[in-house]
Every structure is written in C-alpha cells, then in structure tokens.
C-alpha cells in the first residue's frame, strides 16, 4: 500500500495525457456546450485514485455526476482496461450475513436510489482501478504510439494499409493481388469498387494536400516532429513509468476479496482511505457489523505494533502515545472507538495476566491498560480490572451516557475512560447479539458464563475471519490467543477462568467454525 502514491500519480498523468478530451456521450446527442463533458474522464480517474473499490452510486454522488454519465465513463475505462468493475445482486450477499428477511428489508433501503427493477435484488456495480494493468496498458500504448510513428517515419517493415473512402473497408498490401484491376493503376475496393487510399498517406498528409512530389518529404518531417513532440510532452509520464517499474503494484483483488481484506485492514491504513471502502462495504451489509470487525482488527494490529515497541524500549512514553492515539480515534468515531476500547480492555486483562506471570513473551497484548495503571497507581493493576468487570456486568445502560462524556474526558483518568469505553462496547455487542472474544473473556471473568457467548461466535467471527486473511494481523491474533492460555497458569482463579474461555474460542476459530456457521 505504501507504493500507491506513485501509481496514483501515474494514473493522473495518464488520464491527462490520453483521456483529457475523451467525451463519453452517445453520438446521437447534439454537441452543445452544456453537454460537452470532456474532462470528466480525468475527474473520474482522479477520484478513483483516492478510493479503492467503490460503489458506483456512491462515486456518482461524490462527484455530483449523473449515474448514467458516470457509468458510461466507467464502461469506457473498463474497455480501456484501466478499471475493473464488479456487479452483483446485493441482497443475495446480504442474506449471507443476515437472515433473508432482514436482508430483504433493511438492505433494500440504502440501495433504493439506484438499481435494477427487480423488487428485492438490486444489482450494484463497483469499480476499482487496476493498477498493475494500468501500468501495462500505458506502457503498451506508449510503445504502440512510438512504433507507429517510427515505422511511418522509416516506412520500414510496415505493411501498407489501404482504406476505401466510400465504405471504409480496410485492406492491407497483402490483399494487393485481389485489388488490382486491368483498366487503371489504382487499387479498387472489392465491394464498392471505389478507389482505395493508402492509409498512412491519409494519416500524415491530411493537411498537406495530395501533392505527390513534396508530400512525402513533408510528411517525413511532420512525422519526425510528431515523434519528438511526443517524447517531450509525455516525458513526465514516461518518467513516472520508470519510477513505478520496480514497485509492486497495489493490488486490491476482486471485490469480495477486497472487502474481506478491507474489513480487516481498512483502518490500519489511516482514516481517509478506510472511509470510502467502509462506506461501500456498509452498503452491502447495511449495518455497522463490518465496522466492528474492522475496528477490532486494526486496533489489534496497532496495539500489537505498539506492544512490540514497548517491549523493545520498555518505556512508558510509547504507551502513552498509543493511548493518546486511542483517545483520538475515540473522538473521531464513537462507535468504532467503543469497539476499540473494548479491545483494549481485553488487552488489559492480558496485561494483568502478564504481570502476574511475569513472562515477557506472553505479556504482549495488554500494554495499554498496564500503562494506565502505572500512570494512575502502580498497584491498581488488578483491582482496576476487577472494578471494571463488576461494572460491565451491571451497568450496561450507563454506557451511552458515558460514551458521550468520554470524549470530553481526556484529562480524566485514562483508566476511567477505558472503563467507560469498555462498558459502551459491551452494550453495543449485547444489543447486536454478537460477542467478541474480549467480551467473552470479560464475562467469564465476571464468572457469568453465558450461553449466549457460545451461541453467537459465528457473527463475531465475521470479523475474526477477515482478520486472519490479513497476514500480519492474523499472526497477531494468534499470538494473543497463544499468550492467553499460558498466562492462565500464573493468574488468579478468576483469570484462570478467563483464560479457559479464551482458549475455547481460539480453538473454535482455528477449526474454522466460522465457515460452518456462515455456510
């Protein structure tokens, strides 16, 4: 993903070089000033460089374009092989995630603006830049341009083409034997008997007239001029191609694959990028579910990263930093933040465990809480957790209020904030009937092992599964899971229970129960 910027620049350059004056309107429409949409192609391509897979309606809305117009442009780009598109019936997909009934109703609303006539099934189109192909397409195009000009210039090794001005049928010199006639010295069209015109002459000699004598020489000069002009004007593009040559092209994969991955990794790339894809992914789901998954995962990733840092340096500052980052995220997106916080809560537990066990390898995940403890009171570590647990079980309703307040509470104890966030996350999950691993841990720690937890792992695992798809994060998840069980031995009885739960969940995931239940 780090290499996407040069590719975006390539796309932009190519758009301006080749698609600047493309108009995508039907030929039958009158060419009035208003309907002149040249430049739209560039706008669309630019917009696509800022997105990954995007629903076309969303894109149209963002660009303030009519969907029809956008679609025409995109179809053009699809033919040009710059863009990959995917169409699918949304509700079918939605049904997978939700019950069919829910999907039919809830999913229908957001899609209502555009779509096919079918009642419940709406076909939605998604589009995405295909960077590796764009690279090839642009190179090929340049190569063809250069070759054509050079061949014309040298008139070498080119098979002359002839074209019939009447019926615009084309012939090559290889057909010459069939085209000659006995009564004059021109080639004649086989179908309409018109006199054929050599195509290259037409190409360069349009403005030069038909003068035989100097035409050829002048054509030569003109071609040479064109070639140098081309090299000169396309230099930025060619340079960019060279720059991009050794970089791996950003690959988004197919829509489905991308969605899975985006759910996992969308957040870790930073918010602006993640927003658009998440939007579209929300589109199919129509619910915050994917969000939950995303946030969890990304948070995990970042936290793990931070953990590593902390392990390496063993300094509090890093952790503080991370905490601030968390808070920031929190403010930005209440819902997501909750989930994240919940995660941190989980981490906290892990921390406690790690503290107890005092085995550095296992300690990895829970750095965050640990910091908070250190900051506030060093001794609090365990007590804090305990209080949390108690509060989570009892005060699910409070979470909403707390949520809102949390944002303001930067100055407050980080610990408190965490607790609140934790509650909020718990509440969310309970509402949605989906429990995350963390929640399970929590509940188990509260010694309230509920059957719900076990019944609902499939939904939770929507997120988890996607997590695993992503290389890094998948590893991290495993780390945590592995870390948990050994910690159990060293922990208190409460912790021990928690660990058991974790273990059970982990095993479920490992066995790919997800697939069972979803399928």
């Amino acid at each position: 993903m780090g290499s996407i910027e040069p590719f975006n620049r390539l796309v932009k350059l190519a758009a301006r070089a080749f698609y600047d004056d493309i108009t995508t309107k039907g030929e039958n429409q009158p060419k009035t000033g208003r309907s002149d949409n040249r430049g739209i192609a560039v706008v669309v391509l630019d917009a696509l460089t800022r997105r990954q897979w995007v629903r076309e309606e969303d894109l149209a809305k963002d660009l303030k374009l009519h969907t029809k117009q956008l679609r025409r442009t995109l179809r053009f780009f699809e033919e040009e092989k710059l863009v990959t598109r995917d169409h699918r019936k949304e509700t079918a997909k939605g049904a997978k995630i939700y019950n069919a009934a829910v999907a039919a109703t809830a999913d229908g609303q957001p899609n209502g603006r555009e779509g096919d006539e079918k009642l419940k099934m709406h076909t939605h189109s998604y589009c995405c830049l295909d960077y590796s192909q764009i690279y090839d397409v642009v190179r090929y195009r340049l190569q063809r341009m250069r070759k054509k000009l050079k061949d014309e210039l040298e008139s070498k090794n080119t098979v002359q083409e002839y074209i019939c001005p009447n019926c615009s049928k084309r012939y090559t010199a290889l057909d010459a034997l069939r085209l000659i006639t006995t009564y004059d010295e021109y080639f004649h069209c086989e179908s309409c008997n018109g006199v054929l015109v050599a195509e290259s002459d037409k190409f360069a000699a349009q403005e030069l007239g038909d003068g035989d004598d100097n035409a050829r020489r002048r054509r030569h000069e003109k071609l040479k001029d064109m070639l140098t002009k081309m090299e000169e004007q396309l230099k930025p593009l060619i340079d960019q191609l060279g720059r991009v040559k050794d970089l791996p092209a950003p690959e988004f994969g197919s829509l489905q694959a991308w969605e899975l991955r985006a759910n996992v990794a969308g957040r870790s790339n930073g918010d602006p990028n993640a927003n658009d894809p998440s939007k579209s992914s929300l589109g199919f789901g129509g619910t915050p579910m994917p969000y939950v998954g995303e946030t969890k995962v990304t948070f995990l990733a970042s936290s793990v990263y931070l953990q590593n840092l902390s392990i390496l340096h063993g300094c509090l500052e890093v952790i503080l930093l991370a905490r601030n980052f968390l808070l920031l995220l929190w403010k930005l997106k209440a819902r997501d933040c909750q989930v994240e916080v919940a995660f941190s809560g989980v981490d906290d537990k892990g921390d406690v465990k790690s503290l107890n066990t005092s085995t550095p390898m296992k300690v990895l995940p829970p750095w965050m809480i640990k910091e908070g403890m250190n900051l506030t009171k060093e001794q609090r570590g365990e007590t804090k957790i305990e209080t949390k647990m108690g509060s989570t079980s009892t005060t699910s309703e409070l979470s909403d209020d707390k949520k809102s307040t949390i944002v303001n509470d930067e100055s407050k104890n980080i610990q408190d904030e965490y607790v609140k966030a934790y509650y909020a996350a718990l509440l969310m999950r309970q509402r949605e009937q989906e429990e995350t691993v963390k929640k399970e841990e929590q509940e188990s720690s509260n010694a309230t092992m509920s059957n719900d937890v076990y019944n609902t792992p499939s939904e939770r695992q929507v997120g988890m599964k996607s997590k695993r798809d992503d290389d890094y994060e998948g590893d991290d998840v495993e780390w945590e899971e592995e870390a948990a069980p050994p910690a159990a031995g060293g922990g208190t009885s409460e912790h021990y229970k928690v660990d058991l739960n974790v273990e059970a969940e982990a095993s479920e995931e490992d066995e790919d129960e997800i697939d069972w239940e979803e399928g």
Binding site: N157, A173, L174, A176, I180, E185, A198, R217
Partner: protein
C-alpha cells in the same frame, strides 16, 4: 528459401494403368499432380527428385481405383519474412509494383520504394530516380526483401521492400537489348 524434403501422398490410380509400367505411370501422375502446387505449410513444390517408397495399394470398393501411399522427395520453395529474393517485375502502377520470384508473387508498395524514385506514367509505367539512372519497369530484375507473407492453404503472397541497403534494380533489360 528452398528445401529438399520428403512428403507423402495417397495416389489414386485408374485400373487401366495396371500393368508392367504401373510404377512409371504412378510416378508420372504424381509429378503431374504435385509439381507446381502450393501448400501453406511447405510452400511451393518445385520438383520431385525421387520416389522414396510406394506402399501397398488398396482397391477402392465400387470404383476399382487403387490407392497407393507414395513417399517422395521433392524440392520446395517457401518464402520467409526477412528473406532477400531476386524477382522479376511483372507490373508497375501508381500503388507500387508486382514482381515474381519463381512461383511467388511479391508486391512492393510505393512507400517501400526509395523516396528518390518517382512514379512515371506512360506507355511503360515505371519508377525512376530523379537523375534517371535507375529505372524500375516491367521485366526489370530487382532484389528485394520480404517483409510480410500471407500464406493461404494453396497460395502464398508476399510484400517486399526495396528501401534498404543493397536492394533495388539488379540490371536493366533496356540496357542489354
């Protein structure tokens, strides 16, 4: 380019040739049938140089014709892209000129003729340099390079160029006569 290769063909022989000189008749018929034909794969079959073997004949039901599988050696001529050939000009027009190299017809379009040669109409249409020292007209011999071939099942047609070093007119028939 010429090749000496072995080909096989099933020959059908009329019963009236069955006799002492069956084999001669078979060979004569083979030559008549095959020489001068063109296959896209092997090119023009120029000449049969020998019979490798004649297989067992098979009498066809109903007709009494007998089919002999015959293996024969022959010389084939197959033009290739990039090959240099010497050819005789057969026709000159505004679009270029046609030439023949043995059985192969070659077209050289006017933009593959050197830029200093101009087309001159008249009784004998020709391409001439500005100083008149070189002239391409009917029956001129030219050396050309093949830049494209079209190979059909029974026909090969080539495009040539004389716009390269050492290509062009070899001798002018007008000078000798």
């Amino acid at each position: 380019m010429f090749f000496h290769i072995v080909l096989e063909r099933n020959m059908q022989l009329h019963p009236r040739h069955f006799g002492r000189d069956l084999r001669d008749k078979l060979v004569a018929k083979l030559m008549k049938d095959v020489e001068g034909t063109c296959s896209g794969r092997h090119g023009f079959i120029v000449a049969i140089t020998g019979i490798e073997s004649v297989g067992k004949g098979l009498i066809r039901d109903g007709t009494g014709f007998v089919t002999f599988p015959v293996k024969y050696q022959c010389v084939v001529f197959r033009p290739f892209k990039g090959e240099i050939l010497e050819a005789v000009v057969t026709m000159v027009n505004k679009m270029g000129f046609f030439a023949e190299a043995g059985p192969v017809q070659i077209f050289v379009s006017n933009h593959l003729i050197p830029d200093d040669m101009e087309f001159q109409t008249g009784d004998m249409p020709n391409y001439t340099t500005s100083d008149g020292s070189v002239k391409i007209q009917k029956d001129s011999e030219v050396r050309l390079k093949i830049i494209g071939t079209r190979v059909d099942a029974t026909e090969i047609f080539c495009i040539g160029t004389i716009k390269d070093d050492f290509l062009g007119v070899i001798s002018d028939p007008g000078a000798t006569s």
